[in-house]
């Protein structure tokens, strides 16, 4: 059978892209299963879903980051089945992706960045005259009024985003993929960028846009495809179907809460930990506040959740509380057991009974060169030392004890932590912080990237810690996890705590609403 694009098939709204039953597996995880995506030429097509739903993976498949052969299914682009072997191949076809983390080189100029890897050259010698002329023209098209010789590091994130788009246009882009383009931008820069994307639509450039900011999508997208757990849920026609934020949220979180949590009867005591007016600046950009007047309380025996989308400032809040490990402290108090405590560094945070299990265990949580026993005791060596000398027998005994109680699956505590699975590594990190005898544990994405069985065990550990009268703060991107595990949930949006809900009164929709807009905006509606 020969399929050719005919005038009949592409009558009124020609399809530029069709991804058919895309399945992509990573060792142990099925990131995408049977995903379908149809994009019409000249539209702005949004892709929505919770963190980990598979949006970025799908776009990486499309743009050749994951080459043909590493996934199953077909990509039909402009009527042809495409087999991209790398990004260069997809760019050659006119598909350009702009990643969430901008791929610009800060120490090079705007011109040099626009033409990086694509330099106008004759026999290997770059024609800078030509490059600069074209750069000026491209900058005019994206509405960026900057000298093309300016270094990237000297312009703001918003303008950098425009340079990325200029770079894409220099490659004769037909299909532009934007992965959370406005995540790092302020209101006016976002506005400008969205206008530009709509302008590109007028020039016949199709855009696929991943975003968490639902109001933006509602405003500019023509269609929205919702992914959940690596599957396509539905594709909505924004105008035709009369889609609003609530409709999108329902699609995003629609699953029921299965019994994925151990039985637990909370035994909640009085407030023992309180944060007031916590304000922190971004470490590099002083005018950007990553935490704004945040205030919250934790009771003994309570599991408190923090819900917020990526970049909302959850981790920043946690790390800045934990010995000022992030950003620049501006103001705020930490009150524990009725007394204000000072925690200018991690050592004092640990002394005051705080523990922070980081979001990224491989980068922030573990020394991957170490073995299990050394990792287990690493946050409180004094506890197994006489004077300055580590008692290795006791170290071994302590590690053994946690290996048994947390069921860390390993032949021996002498084994290197790098050899453990994600779930077991996370248990080692938990053991490391339980060993410090904390009163307050902050767990940042404690179940990220680990399988269902290990998740269940970790939930059990968290509940046990609460039963012992400790306060536990859980930061998670998975709303069902927060709803199933926590007693009370705070929502964060753009550095501010926007809402506080008892978990039994909350549902995914109400959480998502507070996570995607500030309270002020909500009340003004």
């Amino acid at each position: 059978m020969t399929w050719t694009p005919s005038g009949v098939l592409v009558s009124t709204e020609p399809t530029i892209l069709e991804m058919r039953s895309i399945t992509k597996e990573f060792p142990g995880v099925k990131a995408l299963s049977d995903v379908n995506l149809t994009v019409k030429a000249g539209e702005i097509h949004a892709i929505c879903g919770e963190n980990g739903a598979g949006k970025s993976t799908l776009m990486k498949v499309l743009s050749g980051v994951y080459p043909y052969g590493t996934y199953a299914g077909d990509i039909v682009y402009q009527g042809e089945v495409c087999r991209f072997k790398d990004i260069a191949a997809s760019e050659h076809a006119g598909i350009v992706i702009i990643h969430q983390e901008l791929a610009l080189i800060p120490t090079l100029s705007i011109t040099e960045n626009i033409f990086l890897g694509n330099e106008p050259a004759r026999r290997g010698v770059i024609d800078w005259q030509e490059a600069k002329l074209r750069a000026v023209e491209l900058l005019a098209r994206v509405g960026l009024d900057e000298n093309p010789d300016t270094l990237i590091k000297n312009i703001g994130v918003g303008k950098q985003q425009l340079v990325e788009i200029a770079k894409a246009m220099s490659k004769q882009v037909k299909l532009l993929i934007l992965d959370e383009p406005t995540a790092a931008l302020n209101q006016s820069d976002s506005r400008h960028l969205l206008d530009l994307i709509q302008g590109l639509k007028g020039r016949g450039i199709t855009s696929i846009m991943i975003s968490h900011k639902l109001d933006e999508l509602e405003a500019i997208a023509d269609s929205i495809t919702i992914l959940r757990d690596g599957r396509t849920i539905e594709t909505l026609d924004v105008v035709g179907d009369g889609v609003d934020e609530d409709r999108i949220i329902r699609g995003m979180v629609g699953r029921s809460l299965e019994s994925r949590f151990p039985e637990h009867t909370p035994n909640i005591g009085e407030v023992f930990f309180e944060v007031r007016d916590w304000t922190v600046q971004h470490p590099m950009v002083a005018e950007r506040l990553v935490c704004k007047d945040s205030a919250f309380t934790v009771r003994r025996g309570e599991i408190v959740g923090f819900a917020g989308l990526m970049g909302a400032g959850r981790t920043e809040l946690a790390m800045s509380l934990f010995g000022r490990s992030y950003g620049t402290y501006v103001s705020g108090q930490i009150i524990k057991d009725g007394v204000e405590i000072r925690v200018p560094d991690v050592a004092s945070a640990i002394r005051h009974g705080m523990a922070y299990v980081s979001e990224d265990r491989k980068v922030l949580g573990l020394n991957l060169l170490d073995d299990i026993k050394r990792s287990t005791v690493s946050a409180k060596l004094t506890k197994i030392s006489r004077g300055q000398v580590v008692d290795k027998a006791e170290e071994h005994a302590v590690a053994e004890q946690y290996r048994t109680s947390l069921r860390i699956k390993t032949p021996s505590v002498d084994e290197g932590v790098s050899k453990l699975s994600g779930g077991n590594q996370q248990k080692v990190v938990l053991a490391k912080w339980m060993f410090t005898d904390p009163d307050l544990l902050i767990l940042d994405e404690p179940t990220r990237g680990i399988d269902v069985g290990a998740k269940f065990e970790i939930y059990g550990v968290i509940q046990q810690l609460a039963n012992q009268g400790k306060g536990v703060v859980v930061i998670s991107s998975e709303l069902p996890e927060l709803l199933g595990l926590c007693d009370r949930i705070y929502t964060i949006f753009e550095g501010s705590i926007t809402n506080e809900l008892a978990a039994r009164d909350a549902d995914p929709e109400s959480l998502m609403r507070s996570m995607t807009s500030s309270t002020k905006k909500k009340t003004s509606r």
Binding site: P262, E263, H264, T265, F322, G323, S325, D345, V346, A347, A349, I350, Y356, S358, V363, L364, G365, L366, N367, L368, L369, D370, D371, R374, S378, A379, K380, L381, T382, S385, Q388, V389, V390, K392, A393, H396, A397, E400, R407, K409, T410, P411, S412, D414, G416, K432, V452, G453, A454, F456, E457, G460, V461, Q463, Q464, N467
Partner: protein
């Protein structure tokens, strides 16, 4: 006997770099035997051996400090110049101001501490890369040596020379050997046996995977045989010579620093910062303090090495300590340290340093010119690290891992899988 390879490996202690050390010790023994044959027995001749120790002790002392710097992922290029400055200051203090030799040594160590504090300040608190700080130090302190000494040679008094060219004295009955050296050998042998017994007792208490008794027995017997043989050699040299005082200083430092790196909180912190600085910081380690102290320690050891060298050559001169940093760095990397930091042991660095020393010495005994010796040393360094890098990229632990892989059994310990969801339900 296929199952015994892993037991045999336990002879050489535990830890991540065991495989590498195991390989290095065999390389060292191999090189010694090779040169013993090639030089018609000159290599293991007492006179040569004594000279070898006294000639390389100060490089090995530097390698101890350098190892800790390298574990942090840094490099110290200034050690040769620091050694030279300490040498000239101490020599001048004794020559011009009649400072007594014990005070002079204290002065030298304090000077080392001050220089180390200076360099540590820039590295730890200002954040200038150690490579740059110590490259600056290399020039600064070399110049300072020549400035203070007027680019001239200053002799040191005889009492001071003991730390560089002294030997254990001859006392007791005439046995044909140096009695104190024999006694030292005996003490070391007893200490080794004691250590093994203690280690086994701890292992039993911890219930950890233990080597069979025969392995321990063979290991201790072998080690004691080596120690006894070595002490006979050192004790049997020309009358008046024996185990050098500088060698004793080195031995003491090796013991102290092995303990420091393996058994103390500070040692743990050094490995933690080198292995993952971010994780270390979030575990409450004061990374800056660690960087500062390690840089400071390096300069103290450098100045000690400088004083020993001055004592050995009877005078301090403008060219002292030239290129020492390179030998010390090479020793660490041959001994299994990683450029990226986090990995390395004092013993490994000592073995690496000895490989270079024996190689150097053996080639010289064979009459190979200094030009060719340098070329060979360069290639050996490259090869040793290349083999290590290649093996890591292949997912194999080390050279030895590669050699013994064929004989290894499949790992027999497989944890009993626990049906996770069922068993961890809290009882509440």
């Amino acid at each position: 006997m296929t199952t015994r390879i892993s037991d045999l490996k336990k002879m050489f202690g535990g830890g991540a770099s065991t495989g590498r050390q195991f390989g290095m010790i065999f390389t060292l023994v191999g090189i010694i035997l090779l040169f013993q044959v090639l030089t018609d027995g000159l290599t293991l001749d007492p006179i040569n051996l004594i000279a070898l120790v006294s000639q390389y002790s100060y490089i090995l002392i530097l390698a101890i400090g350098m190892l800790m710097v390298i574990i942090l992922g840094n490099i110290d290029l200034s050690v040769g110049s620091v050694a030279a400055v300490a040498g000239i200051v101490v020599a001048k203090a004794m020559a011009t101001f009649d400072l007594s030799w014990p005070l002079a040594i204290v002065l030298g160590l304090l000077l080392g501490a001050a220089i180390g504090a200076w360099q540590g300040f820039w590295v730890a608190y200002v954040g200038v890369p150690a490579f740059i700080v110590t490259l600056g130090g290399l020039l600064l302190f070399r110049g300072m040596n020549q400035f203070i000494g007027n680019a001239q040679t200053i002799p040191v008094p005889a009492e001071f020379r003991v730390i560089g060219s002294g030997y254990l004295p001859e006392i007791g009955p005439d046995t044909g050997y140096n009695n104190l050296t024999l006694l030292l050998g005996l003490l070391v042998a007893i200490a080794l046996a004691f250590r093994e017994v203690r280690m086994r007792r701890t292992q039993r208490a911890m219930g950890s995977d233990m080597a069979p008794t025969w392995v321990s027995a063979v290991k201790v017997t072998l080690l004691i045989a080596v120690v006894v043989y070595a002490s006979m050699l050192f004790a049997g040299g020309r009358v008046g010579t024996s185990f050098p005082v500088s060698g004793i200083i080195l031995l003491v430092l090796v013991v102290v620093y092995s303990f420091l790196t393996n058994n103390t909180i500070f040692g743990r912190h050094v490995y933690a910062v080198g292995g993952n600085a971010l994780a270390a910081r979030l575990s409450g380690v004061k990374n800056k303090h660690v960087h500062f102290l390690v840089m400071m320690n390096m300069s103290i050891l450098a100045s000690l090495a400088g004083m020993i060298f001055v004592a050995r050559s009877a005078a301090s001169g403008p060219q002292d300590g030239l290129n020492w940093e390179l030998d010390a760095i090479a020793a660490c990397f041959i001994g299994g340290a990683a450029v990226a930091g986090g990995v390395g042991t004092v013993t490994g660095a000592m073995v690496g340093g000895l490989v270079m020393a024996v190689l150097n010495n053996g080639l010289q005994l064979m009459g190979v010119g200094a030009d060719k010796v340098q070329m060979i040393k360069g290639l050996v360094l490259l090869l040793a690290v290349a083999v290590d890098v290649y093996n890591k990229s292949q997912g194999r632990p080390s050279l030895t891992g590669m050699l013994t892989r064929r004989f290894q059994r499949v790992p027999e310990v497989e944890p009993t899988p626990v049906p996770a969801a069922e068993t961890s339900r809290p009882t509440s």
